[in-house]
């Protein structure tokens, strides 16, 4: 499988500046244009403004509308973007709650190029050539 030139867009939702910077750069490296917001409410607001993304990387631990609430709200709004949750905690209970909120994938931090490629592959973003 080879990577097609990426026309994908992504939204990074994370309240931590280090993670925002890292995830933004990881996506840039894969040629994925991306925006960054600081919390679940901003993620909802940016969609209300009319923007849409192929992929949303959603940090699990955030204040001001946490990720589970934000994911539910986005799904209620009819947002069909693929949402991948990222977290520092990986227990099964948290994962179940997060997936039931409407996630498509769930990964433990830290994100790496290979984890991101795995997310993209799992969510069928790259076409086989």
């Amino acid at each position: 499988m080879t990577l097609a030139e990426s026309k994908l867009t992504a939204l990074v939702v994370d309240d931590n500046f280090v993670n925002q910077t890292m995830h933004h750069k990881l996506l840039d490296r894969l040629g994925i244009r991306n925006d960054v917001v600081c919390n679940g409410q901003e993620a909802v607001d940016v969609h209300c403004s009319g923007r849409n993304y192929d992929l949303i990387l959603m940090d699990m631990e955030m204040p001001i509308l946490n990720s589970i609430q934000a994911t539910k709200r986005l799904r209620e709004m009819g947002i069909e973007s693929k949402i991948a949750g990222v977290t520092t905690r990986a227990n099964e209970g948290d994962k179940k709650e997060f997936m039931e909120a409407g996630l498509n994938d769930f990964r433990e931090k830290p994100l790496t190029i290979s984890k991101l490629l795995s997310i993209l592959h799992r969510l069928d973003f790259y076409a086989q050539t």
Binding site: D15, N16, F17, V18, N19, T21, M22, K25, L26, R29, D59, E61, P63, T88, K109, P110, L111, T112, I113
Partner: protein
């Protein structure tokens, strides 16, 4: 002859990094961070580590203020701060800091104040050790760049 300084400094950098990996201070995620540095962001590692220092010091100050308060009871806030520290430490490959933050977080989830105080001391110790090592690394990198610049004048 001029290249000898660059080679020696590179060897010093490699030795320091090997030691930090061996001690468990850093893990493979630090290599990921280094791999993200490129011509479009030539100081990416330096920039991200400095963001990490700024953010971590704010969080550590806040944690100390919370725990020093005699009336303290907001363990949830401690947990939120520690989630931040765990996340950012793991993102830059600061393994030992991350691990001691996880232990501290466990104490906060049990509302264990003495455990939290001890956890904070340990986190502060590991954080400052990491910071000192990173400063040493950046100084060596700076010297290597200068030495390389001397070798290839514009």
């Amino acid at each position: 002859m001029l290249g000898f300084g660059v080679d020696r400094l590179q060897a010093d950098i490699n030795r320091l990094l090997t030691s930090l990996f061996h001690q468990g201070v850093l893990d493979e995620q630090f290599l990921q961070l280094q791999q993200l540095q490129d011509e479009t962001s030539p100081t990416f590692v330096y920039d991200v580590i400095n963001i990490y220092f700024d953010e971590s010091e704010k969080l550590l100050r806040s944690l100390r203020l919370l725990l020093m308060d005699r009336e303290f009871s907001d363990y949830k806030k401690i947990g939120l701060h520690l989630n931040q520290l765990v996340g950012s430490s793991s993102s830059i490959g600061a393994r030992r800091v991350r691990n001691v933050c996880v232990a501290f977080r466990s104490a906060s989830e049990l509302n264990n104040r003495p455990g939290c105080l001890r956890g904070l001391e340990i986190v502060e110790h590991e954080y400052h050790y990491l910071k000192n090592m990173m400063h040493e690394l950046f100084q060596l990198e700076q010297q290597r760049l200068l030495a390389a610049g001397v070798r290839y004048p514009m």
